[in-house]
C-alpha cells in the first residue's frame, strides 16, 4: 500500500484506539467515592482492580505505539523538495526528452524495416535464381 494510504490508515487506527480506550475504561472502571455524605462504595474483588490497572496500561501503551508509528511513517515520506512548479517543469523536460527519443526510435525503426524489405527481396531473387539454375536431369 502506498505511503499516503498507510498514513491515512494509521490516523484511523489512532482514532479507533482512542475511542476504544475511553470506552472500555469508562465502562469497566470501579465506582469511586464522590461525596463524604455517602458511604464508601462496596469493596470489589481485588483481581478486578488489578486487571483494570493492567488493562489501562496496555491500551495506553498501544495508543502511544500507534502514534510513534505514525511519526515513523511521516519520516519515511519521500517528499522531494520541489513545489508544484518544480515538478511541472521536470514533467515538461521529461516530455520533451521523451519526444526526441521517440522520434529517434521511429527513424531507426523505419530504416531497419527498409533494410528488412531489401534483404527479403534479394533473398527471394536469389531463391528464384537458384531454382531456375537447377536443370532437371
Amino acid at each position: 500500500m502506498d505511503i499516503i494510504s498507510q498514513l491515512q490508515e494509521q490516523v484511523n487506527t489512532i482514532a479507533s484506539l482512542a475511542f476504544n480506550t475511553f470506552g472500555t475504561l469508562q465502562r469497566d472502571s470501579p465506582p469511586v467515592r464522590l461525596s463524604p455524605n455517602y458511604p464508601e462504595p462496596p469493596a470489589n474483588p481485588t483481581e478486578d482492580a488489578e486487571n483494570f490497572a493492567e488493562h489501562a496500561k496496555l491500551v495506553s501503551a498501544a495508543l502511544v505505539k500507534a502514534a510513534k508509528q505514525f511519526d515513523a511513517l511521516v519520516a519515511a515520506l519521500p517528499l522531494a523538495e520541489g513545489g508544484e512548479e518544480a515538478q511541472l517543469k521536470r514533467i515538461a523536460e521529461l516530455q520533451a526528452e521523451n519526444d526526441a527519443v521517440g522520434q529517434e526510435l521511429q527513424r531507426q525503426l523505419e530504416a531497419a524495416e527498409k533494410e528488412l524489405k531489401e534483404v527479403r527481396e534479394l533473398f527471394s531473387q536469389a531463391a528464384d535464381n537458384c531454382l531456375n539454375l537447377k536443370k532437371p536431369d
Binding site: 499516503i4 498514513l7 502514534a67 521523451n98
Partner: protein, 175 residues
Amino acid sequence: MATATYPPPPPYYKLYKDYLQDPKSAPEPPPPIEGTYICYGGNYTTDDILPSLEDQGVRQLYPKGPNIDYKKELRSLNRELQLHILELADILVERPSQYARRVEDISLIFKNLHHLLNSLRPHQARATLIHILELQIQRRKQAVEDIKRRREEAQRLLKESIGTLEDTGASFVLK
C-alpha cells in the same frame, strides 16, 4: 400480486424517425456539462479539486501558504492530538460533564490531519507521472540501442555472406 409495467421510454425517440435515411435530421447529443450540476438533489462539481477546509466549515490548524512543510505539520498535529487525548482523560476524571469541548477539538485535529494527507495526493500523482516518464525514456533508449546493434549485426552478416558467395561463385565459374 400486482406488478407495475416499466415506465415508457422518453418521448424523444420520435425525433429519430428518419435517422437511417438522413443522419442529420435528428438532434445532436447534448454537450458535456461544465461547472457545477445537481444530481439527485446533491451538488456536484466537474472540477475535481480538493475543497479547502474553510469550504467545509472546518477551522484550519496548520499555517496556510504556498509551500507547506508537510512532515513538520503532520508531526506537530500528531503531538497536538496526543496532548488533547491526555486532556480528555484528565477532564473525564476531574469534571466529566465538560467532555464535549475536548471531543470537538480532537475531531477538529483529525479533520485537519486527513485534509493534509489528502492534499498530498496531487503531489504524489505528479511524482508518479515523473517516474513513469523516466521509465519510458529508459525503455525507448534501450530499444534504440537494440535496433542499432541488430542492424549492424545484419550488415556484418550480409558482408560475410557476400564474401562467401564470391568465393564459391568464383570457384564455381572456374570449374
